[in-house]
């Protein structure tokens, strides 16, 4: 399999200790960040089935593989306390809408994969998990809070961003997803019955 280029320039740790360089790179990242069309990528050489959960390395992950489906892209980590609540809820979301055209993908940003593994032992994932230890995908999506969830349209456009996971967020996101899927149904079959 041809190794696709990185989704974003490698993060420079020095940015955080050198103010001027930091401001320049920070500005660059903001400008080069996700546009309405979503993060850049190359064409898929083979599309892993979105129905089979499994784990994917960041370098092998391509959002284009999920074109045609709504995607809920969630960024989580073992050290993130609200993720203990959002993760079981993601399984619930997948259960509700997985067969109706929603793909749930959980991107893990742990530096230590063992810690992520322990978390998954306690909260099993019924959806694909992407390993992003260097935070490349997180940076491409300009993640500002943990956890963060992005609702992406079948065309690859970012429809909504949810920062954090608080009381009430679960039902709000479910309603959002339901509305998006209902819209899609209407577009697919205008004028047809239920």
């Amino acid at each position: 399999m041809i190794r696709p280029p990185r989704l974003s320039p490698p993060r420079r740790r020095v940015a955080f200790s050198h103010p001027i360089l930091g401001v320049a790179l920070w500005a660059g990242a903001v400008l080069a960040g996700p546009t309405a069309a979503g993060p850049p990528g190359t064409a898929a050489t083979s599309a892993p089935s979105a129905e089979t959960p499994g784990s994917i390395e960041a370098a092998d992950f391509r959002l284009e593989d999920y074109r045609g489906k709504y995607v809920y892209l969630d960024f989580w980590a073992s050290w993130c306390e609200p993720c203990q609540r959002s993760f079981p809820w993601l399984a619930h979301l997948e259960h509700l809408y997985g067969k109706s055209g929603l793909a749930v993908i959980a991107v893990n940003v742990d530096h230590d994969r063992k810690a992520a593994g322990k978390f998954l032992d306690r909260h099993p994932a019924a959806f694909p998990v992407v390993w992003d230890p260097k935070g490349e995908i997180a940076k491409a999506w300009n993640v500002e809070a943990m956890p963060s969830g992005f609702l992406i349209s079948p065309e690859g456009e970012k429809l909504a961003e949810h920062r954090g996971f608080r009381d009430g967020d679960a039902s709000a996101i479910e309603a959002e997803v339901a509305a998006a899927l209902a819209n899609q149904d209407r577009e697919d079959s205008p004028g047809a019955g239920s």
Binding site: P19, W26, A77, W79, E81, V109, G135, A138, K139, G164
Partner: protein, 84 residues
């Protein structure tokens, strides 16, 4: 009246100056100091919380308050995993 203590005064002044100057990069470059939201694994550790030993510290503070003339100064939270 006891003799003025010079050593602690100058030592204190240097420490104070160093710590007061620390916020200068904070004020001028707050946006660039810090970490990304996904890089807070170390900060999320309970040992790295600023109030990690709050109960013990509170007891200590009360003992020192009974033996010394100073009290308080310790603050509140901040830091941590930065979640939500």
């Amino acid at each position: 009246m006891s003799a003025p203590r010079r050593r602690p005064r100058s030592l204190g002044r240097i420490a104070l100056l160093a710590l007061v100057l620390c916020p200068v990069p904070v004020v001028s470059g707050c946006a660039t100091l810090g970490v990304e939201a996904w890089d807070r694994d170390q900060l999320a550790r309970p040992e790295m919380k600023l109030g990690a030993n709050a109960t013990e510290d509170a007891i200590d503070d009360h003992i020192y308050f009974s033996k010394e003339a100073s009290s308080g100064g310790r603050g509140f939270g901040g830091g941590g995993c930065g979640c939500n």
